[in-house]
Symmetry: D2
């Protein structure tokens, strides 16, 4: 299948390019950039040898991409590709969107959160939230996949079994997430300036990050007690890749950690990319770096009856480009794990 | 005043040595090490030029230290200095203990937590918890000061104003703390091995860290609703210094963030080492690195009515050796800020 | 082909395990460790999910390995596997040795450098130095391959074209190399302790590193002016992977940088794993991280008539385990690039 | 004495502000910024509490600065302050210039290197190169001090004793320097973007860095064999502060490393800020981080008769703002070490 990457100059785009180039059933036939149209990939990324380095970026134009490819992946900021996604869908292409435009089912919530008018709300019901662990059946054969945000992937997978099975009360869900700096993209700024970031650690967008409604939507759908709301605080950590989410909730009833572990173990029993750590252990981000895995571990604060669930993802793979390939594998009817790394380089 | 450092070969000890050497009223007259007795400081720490580098470490013997100094600082693991502390007190020395031995008022809690018998429980009522922001009056003139743990310093100062003034309900207090690696000390191990730690991030001792009872003790004492219990989860972050604590609690009643900020502002108005960030901002660990400051910032999740309080300390200064000097300044009747850095090197 | 890894618990071993597991023609049938015999790989390396994590380490015993596999790779310190290598050769196995035992052709030089008696000097003429760029023909079909040191790989490939074609005088060759910390292995020590290593940078084993004789041997063999001697100074840099070697020499005669670049370009024209950067550019270690590439770039100091050649390798891949697989591919008659990554994860 | 800082918003300026604020004889009375005029320092640097954080930046105007202060420090890019420096000199102020404008004695060399016309060449003979170890007498009482570049400080101090005493032949001097990222300043760019810089290492401006003529000038002046030329290659290393320079040269005649060490030891015997490491040891950048020290260590490659001299400085202190204060201390007749840190925070 021929694939076009619109927005190949960012970290998500170049990681997708690498994964697609190594994928046995994909052929990259069009790469596009905005300010970098006309440039060679090796000018932007000197680590890319030929043939990838020799790719010349085209315009971000849905027509050109559609002429060249069957699958169109939009790696653009929210709202920038909203109309092109709709156009591509109409042309019958398989479309993946890295932005938030088609993730939220509630158009009002989207518009309030992103402060922009949604121009194609009718597509929202058709779009699938690209988290195979919750939506595998819908993704198979789907034509419009909204790739989840990196933080929601980690938080949702940490809490899903507990929410689904009513193990925790939903009146106080805390998600304290820590992310490496690559999540901020490639645009240089003071907040990603090495000398300011290294040897430092901070919280940002406290309880106001735009990824929060995704967590609320997906976790709420797992239970019938109405809409739940996560208090989500992201942090910036001096490392390149990796998100660690530490999630807190009251247990709904007294359970041992072993019982809870068994619920998690059953929930993820057949998941190729979720690795539940054995009882007593939790993941580190390095465990999953460079892979499409989400590792999960749990503990219980027995003094207070609280669950602590910890998850780790590589924000650019399971948190973005790898998730896209995983969804594509499902959408196209290929083996779900095709072309996706499972074992991290160590150290 | 002459000061002896017992356990000068660790990070806490060498940082205290530096601070004491720069302090106008202190003279370091005895340094001791366990396995390093007989060695020169410059053999252990090549960055130390003469005269500090020329100091030869003596034995960890309370008699020798007492003969040489008026102030004895024990920078030893818990229980290792328990008896020597008591001896030094009997000799009428001013004593500071970096370990947990004299921090907890409840001897049973100490013994359960540290799995060791307390040999001098009668001293616990005399010992002062060395957090000047809560115990300044007791520290003035005190002869036995238990220097607080690094994590408790950050967590307690983040939550103290809210607990004291009943702003939050105490039935779910979460402290999610992230620490640099220097908190693990200088002993080499796989968990502090550069290649394993760098570019990684993990949680450890989930809801089972020994610093938790200190938080419970000090925060409980600020209110009258009985014993409260913090769910405390520490994390290891790939940086050398710094602790960031993100603390979560339900608001006890509806308040604006501005109102809460004013309570915090009043609470810390006269504190020389607590810097409350302006509304809308929270600290990063780099802000306080190399200083004796604890920076605090707050936010409110208005959707859910939760307080998020963030604090940052340099774990080796305000979290350890600087706190000791701050307490010494008070105990000896000197200006509280003497010899203590307020402004970080940047970047 | 079945492959046994003796010394699978170190960084070289676990990286070889990963590469071998992803290799289409290799099956790992035996893994062994010294102190870790009897343990599961996932106990040593929690990032390894089943089936790799479920491998139980056997003894480092050549008989057991030979019974299980056709190819034996010894990932042991120098002299520890010297006799087993000889035994395995006698059994007709294909043998790769990560240590220096069979790299140096001059047994006296080996014994002086490593301060140990060589017990099988007769094998030295049979052993091939596993740098395909210089010894491809000898490696094809070879049964005993000495995998080069990480530093020599970088230094030799930076200078080989210039030495071979007489572009530089050999009376002053300087190789200033900088390495990430993973080159020091997994054994915890103060020199690999995160807090000591991070935010620091130093030189070590100045002009006395054991990798120097390899550089001398391989570069000397490229010309007929007798034995040349490299002044080699390694440095430790606060990053995990990567070696950058900056090499200096006088030009033997006046040449433009473009002329020299052409010589290099011809020399490496058919090399699948050497990427010569375009004129005016030099590599960074991140360009090759996670790949089996050695990137090279050159510049000339026109004021003084000196060549500056810069090379970059991932010390654990092209500098070790990837080089072993590249040699194996040649030795076994497979396509040289089989199972070896060419494109780095970015960033 | 009252001091004005023109260009207080950069790393050099803010570090000077900190040092000046802690200096017993200096009072900062004017701070100025270009694009940041009108802003509060705490808006630019949230780590600065009052009173430093409350300073409002004025215009970069020599008249305003001169009205407020006796000492004017220009922390501006080359040529930006060239005319203001001359004006301030005419007003009789004590002037320090962080730029290269008044460092080179040869105006033609300056103009060729910086590609700009020098508008006040007559001041060059009056200006002193602010390296007290070579120019102490001239600095005492001087009114115009050109603060040296960070790289030249490290390279010159590594080689000065050897050049001065004719220990090395000057026909091949190699200076391979490695710098932390703070040397690139605070302006965000792709080359200082955390995700691109961390876990990477590269050379840049090979044999073309503008600091080279300073090294040539100062080292040439130490001997009478005419102009010597250094081959200088800077590297960027993933750490914030610190420069390590590894310098290579042929020995002019056979000498033992102990004999050379004695020459160095004599040369630096009375220097308060140069610490010569004992025989067999060389400095790491962490040894000097946060201090005004330059540490030096030497070794000899006995096989080839080459000297290897290694030096380390904190690029923002001994390499910039600390050097300025050291010169000011001399110029104003104060104790040379006043207000300058000698001992690094560790770790």
């Amino acid at each position: 299948m021929k694939i076009a990457i619109l927005g190949a100059s960012g970290y998500g785009g170049v990681e997708l390019l690498r994964l697609a180039a190594e994928h046995p059933y994909l052929e990259v036939t069009y790469c596009a950039g905005h300010t970098s149209a006309g440039e060679k990939m090796s000018d932007l990324y000197p680590h890319l040898p030929p043939p990838l380095g020799d790719i010349v970026l085209g315009d971000i134009a849905v027509g050109k991409a559609a002429a060249a490819a069957d699958i169109l992946v939009f790696c653009l900021p929210h709202s920038a590709g909203m109309d092109m996604v709709a156009e591509a869908c109409e042309m019958g292409k398989t479309v993946l969107d890295f932005s938030a435009d088609y993730r939220l089912k509630d158009v009002a919530e989207y518009e309030a959160c992103y402060e922009v008018k949604h121009t194609h709300p009718q597509l929202l019901s058709e779009a699938v939230y690209g988290l195979p662990e919750l939506h595998r059946e819908e993704i198979i054969g789907s034509r419009l996949i909204a790739v989840p945000g990196c933080y929601p992937t980690a938080v949702i997978l940490a809490l899903a079994p507990a929410v689904k099975h009513g193990l925790i009360s939903t009146d106080m869900l805390i998600a304290d997430s820590k992310s490496g700096v690559s999540g901020a993209g490639r645009t240089a700024s003071l907040t990603t300036h090495f000398s300011e970031v290294n040897e430092s650690l901070t919280a940002y967008k406290i309880a106001s990050h735009r990824h929060t409604p995704e967590m609320d939507q997906e976790l709420s759908a797992l239970q019938d007690a109405g809409k739940l709301q996560v208090t989500f605080v992201p942090h910036l950590v001096p490392q390149i890749r990796g998100i660690l989410s530490t999630c807190y909730a009251h247990l709904a009833k007294a359970m041992t950690v072993a019982e809870i572990h068994e619920v998690y173990s059953d929930f993820y029993a057949d998941e190729p990319f979720v690795y539940l750590h054995p009882l007593g252990k939790v993941p580190a981000t390095k465990h999953v770096s460079g892979t499409n895995r989400c590792d999960v571990g749990i503990a219980v604060d027995e003094r207070t009856g609280r669950l602590v669930a910890v998850s780790a993802v590589d924000n650019l793979i399971k948190g973005l480009s790898g998730a896209a390939v995983q969804c594509l594998n499902l959408a196209c009817g290929w083996e779900e794990t095709t072309g996706l790394p499972l074992v991290a380089h160590w150290p």
